[in-house]
């Protein structure tokens, strides 16, 4: 496999296999928190500077602002020396959909964070991944004391395919966030096996 490079001097690391997982959801659903709680590196933010966007924001009051920046959270988990997981928090605003296309290119799957106080906020993410055929799980972020709806109720409200996993978790808990990722990867593996069986 040519993705593993043999070094000229033999002292540097090999090229790891990188897998992308997207963390999506509405504004304030806990994307940044989740990326931060499972990432082994200080969660990093990187900015994409837009040089021209049609139909951009209402800029009244800041008419002179010449650049729009979009911040993407990302984090990394090293599984083995040869295998790394990259988590990307998707930009929340609708007008950055074009970045989603790039992020979901070759992505392993996605976690859609749902906040039961504003469930509708995650509809666009779900539509997007359904249309692209990107496997996703829905993670209901349970903030303190407002666990109002269970996973089943959320699945029903979102009109999900019955096989899409819905889990409840707390984005601030590294173990809980990790379990959501395990749920996603197992789901992707199940789909893969099913697809292989159907062939």
């Amino acid at each position: 496999m040519d993705s593993v490079r043999s070094d000229r001097d033999g002292t540097r690391s090999r090229i790891p296999v990188a897998l992308k997982i997207l963390i999506a959801g509405g504004f304030g659903a806990g994307k940044t928190t989740m990326v931060g709680s499972v990432s082994e590196i200080r969660p990093l933010q990187t900015e994409e500077v837009l040089t021209g966007v049609e139909g951009a924001d209402d800029t009244s009051g800041v008419e002179g602002k010449r650049t729009t920046t979009v911040t993407m959270d990302f984090g990394r988990i090293t599984i083995t020396e040869d295998l790394q997981l990259y988590l990307f928090g998707t930009p929340g605003q609708d007008r950055f959909w074009f970045l989603w296309d790039e992020l979901s290119q070759g992505a392993l799957g996605a976690v859609v964070l749902a906040d039961t106080r504003r469930l509708a906020d995650c509809f666009p993410s779900i539509d997007y991944f359904e249309q692209r055929g990107t496997p996703f799980v829905v993670a209901v972020n349970c903030f303190d004391s407002d666990r109002r709806f269970g996973a089943k109720a959320v699945a029903k409200a979102l009109d999900l395919d019955p096989d899409v996993p819905v889990v409840e978790f707390d984005a601030r808990e590294p173990l809980a966030a990790r379990n959501v990722l395990i749920e996603l990867v197992e789901y992707v593996a199940r789909r893969q096996l099913l697809a292989a069986g159907a062939r």
């Binding site: 496999m1 993705s3 490079r5 540097r12 690391s13 090999r14 090229i15 790891p16 296999v17 990188a18 897998l19 992308k20 499972v38 990093l44 933010q45 990187t46 900015e47 994409e48 500077v49 040089t51 021209g52 966007v53 049609e54 139909g55 951009a56 924001d57 209402d58 800029t59 800041v62 008419e63 002179g64 602002k65 010449r66 650049t67 729009t68 920046t69 993407m72 990302f74 988990i77 599984i79 083995t80 295998l83 790394q84 997981l85 990259y86 990307f88 290119q105 070759g106 392993l108 590294p174 990790r178 990722l181 395990i182 990867v185 197992e186 992707v188 593996a189 893969q192 096996l193 292989a196």
Partner: protein
Amino acid sequence: MRRNGLPGPMPADRRPSHEWGPAPAEPRAPHTWEGGHRADPLRAPHDWMDQDAGPVVRPYAVTQGRVAPSGGEFDLVAFVVATVPDAPPAPSLQPEHHALVGAAWEPTSVVELASKLDLSIGVVRVLLGDLRSAGLISLYEPPAASQPHDVDVLKAVVNGLRAL
């Protein structure tokens, strides 16, 4: 016609005055303008301070305005490996080029380089395209971008996550 939000010069009256050095001489005597709503430009509060005012150097100045890397696009999680420990001094190379080569001795992903060097991803891509053309770095695309994911790899990921 330019829309709001597109890059372009700011109207002069909204420019933060510090961008233009000392303001032109204005009467320092107390103003007598009616209503007093036209503040002393020397003391006017800036609309944008520090980061709000935007970077001092426009991001794409580093790339001389180029927005696409030479030699084609590559993934955010493509790995970059420097072929030399330090880029040789060359008039075509900016300090940012050198910083990228220095940061990519160990295989490092594009997105991580952008974050480490505090440059926008688009800019980093253009600079990496230059370095690739100059033979100073190699770029390795993630294999996952084109193929379905291997179930064995997925099992390894699950096991790895469980072990965290």
